[in-house]
Structure formats: C-alpha cells, structure tokens
Amino acid sequence: MNARTRRRLGNRMRHRSRSVAVSIGLWVAALPLAYLAVEAVLELVGAPALWQRPLDVVGTITGAEAVRYAVAGAAILAAVILLVLAFAPGRLSRHELADERMLVIVDDEVLAGALSRAAATAAAVPRDRVSTSVGSRSAEVTVRPTSGFDIDRDEVAAAAQRELERLAPTPPMRQTVRIETAGVIGR
C-alpha cells in the first residue's frame, strides 16, 4: 500500500460518505422528470393525461402565488441543504493512528480512553477520576484529585503528551490538562 492509497483510504474512513445525499438528490431530481416524460408520451399518442398535460403542469406549479412561493421555498431549502452537504468536511469523530503496516482508524472515545489512562497513572488517581474529551484537533483531560494530595499538573500534561506522541493521531491534536479544585475523599 503506497502512501497515496493509504492517505485516501484514511480520509475515506475519517469522513462521512456523500453517497446517501447524492442518491437522494438524484431521486428527487429524477422522479419529476420521469413523470413529465410519461405525460409527454401520453400527449404524443393522444391518450388522456394522468394528471395534467405537460405544459399545464408547469403552469400549475408556477401559477397561483402561494403555490409559486411554496415551490420556490422548497427548492431553495433543498439547494442549501445540498450545498452544505457538498462543501462541509463531514468529518467523523475518528483519528488515524501511526502504524507502519496497517491503516488504523480509531473512534475518538478510544483516544480519550488512552489519554485518561495515561493521565490517571501519572496523577496516581483511580482511572474513574479522569475524564477526557477529544475533538478533532484538541483533547482536554480533567483530573479530580484525592483530597489532601496535590497533583503536579505539568507531570500529568507530560504523560498525556507522551501518549499523544506515541499514538501520533492524524489530524494531530494538542492536549490540555485541567486539575479540578475540589478533591474527593479516597477510598
């Protein structure tokens, strides 16, 4: 697997596929056209129209003022939704990890768990006193200390940083460590 293929595959798994939006958009565009085609054929062979003759259909949906605005509004709304879907990055909450032989994609929860574990060990608190939230390019680690025992914030931050460097997620992220003021009485 060369670097390019690898990057493409990684991007595919880290971004939402647009195929659903595309297929819905195509169906919405195709159905009215198919209907108009059927009406056109019926008109040609002189058979009675299913609903209205083709040109009358256009007249109906652009005729009365209320109908016209409703149709235009729906078209604008659909256009905006499709444009957003087309241009928004559609990033999924996942990261790619550095690995020589394989393409490794992990959900952000997994990264958060790894950072929490590293921080908990460095802070010497039980694992359930650390919570981590991971965004696309940043991770925030929050540690609840045991009452009476200070936690060295820098030490915890260094441990989190080491873990990040070890995993080397793509896109890269920065970590911040927060030590809560209120502590908990240990068990």
Partner: protein, 106 residues
C-alpha cells in the same frame, strides 16, 4: 493517597488516614484511640478533619486546653505521618472521663 512510582501505585486508604489522625488526637486528649471518631472532608483539594473523642481530666488542664493541643497535634503531625495536606482540624469533645477511674474499671 499516593506516590507515583515506576510500576504500580501506592495508595493510602482514607481509613488509614482516619485512624492515624484519630490516634494523634486521642493521645493528646488522653483517651483511648479506638474510641475516637474521625471524618474527612474535602476543602478545595485539601483535607478538613473532624475528630470526635472524649477527653481525660487531668489536674491543671482544662478540656479546652486538651482539645487545642489535640488540634495542634493533628495539624502538625498529621501531614508528616500521612503525607496529606490538612487545612483544618475540628476537635469535638463529647465527654470527659477520669483516667484513674477508667483504669480501675479495666
């Protein structure tokens, strides 16, 4: 409750801290250690301690004196023995007893 060591983790249980601080206070109050009650609270990441114990009557020493020296002892020796940072120590004396009398009962 802690020490970051290379492998594993050293944890001092809150029970151990309670017994240690209770013993310190009881020693100053002159009452048996096992009869002291200790409660730990959080004080912005530090420890606040409440010790409930009886005090022994001794000639020339008021109950208040005993309680104050118990408080000083917990604040001074508590952190040394447990490694915990203690901000406040409350001593509640719930009763007094005569040292000689209690010895005779045993």
């Amino acid at each position: 409750m802690v020490g970051a060591s290379p492998a594993g983790r050293v944890v001092l249980s809150s029970r151990a801290i309670e017994r240690t601080l209770g013993a310190l206070a009881a020693e100053e109050l002159g009452s048996p250690a096992h009869r002291s009650g200790v409660r730990l609270h959080d004080d912005a990441g530090r420890l606040a301690v409440t010790v409930t114990a009886t005090a022994a009557i001794r000639p020339g020493r008021t109950v208040l004196d005993a309680a104050e020296s118990a408080q000083r002892r917990v604040l001074a020796d508590g952190p040394v023995l447990t490694g915990a940072q203690i901000t406040t120590a409350r001593i509640r004396v719930t009763g007094v007893h005569d040292v000689k009398a209690s010895r005779r009962v045993r």
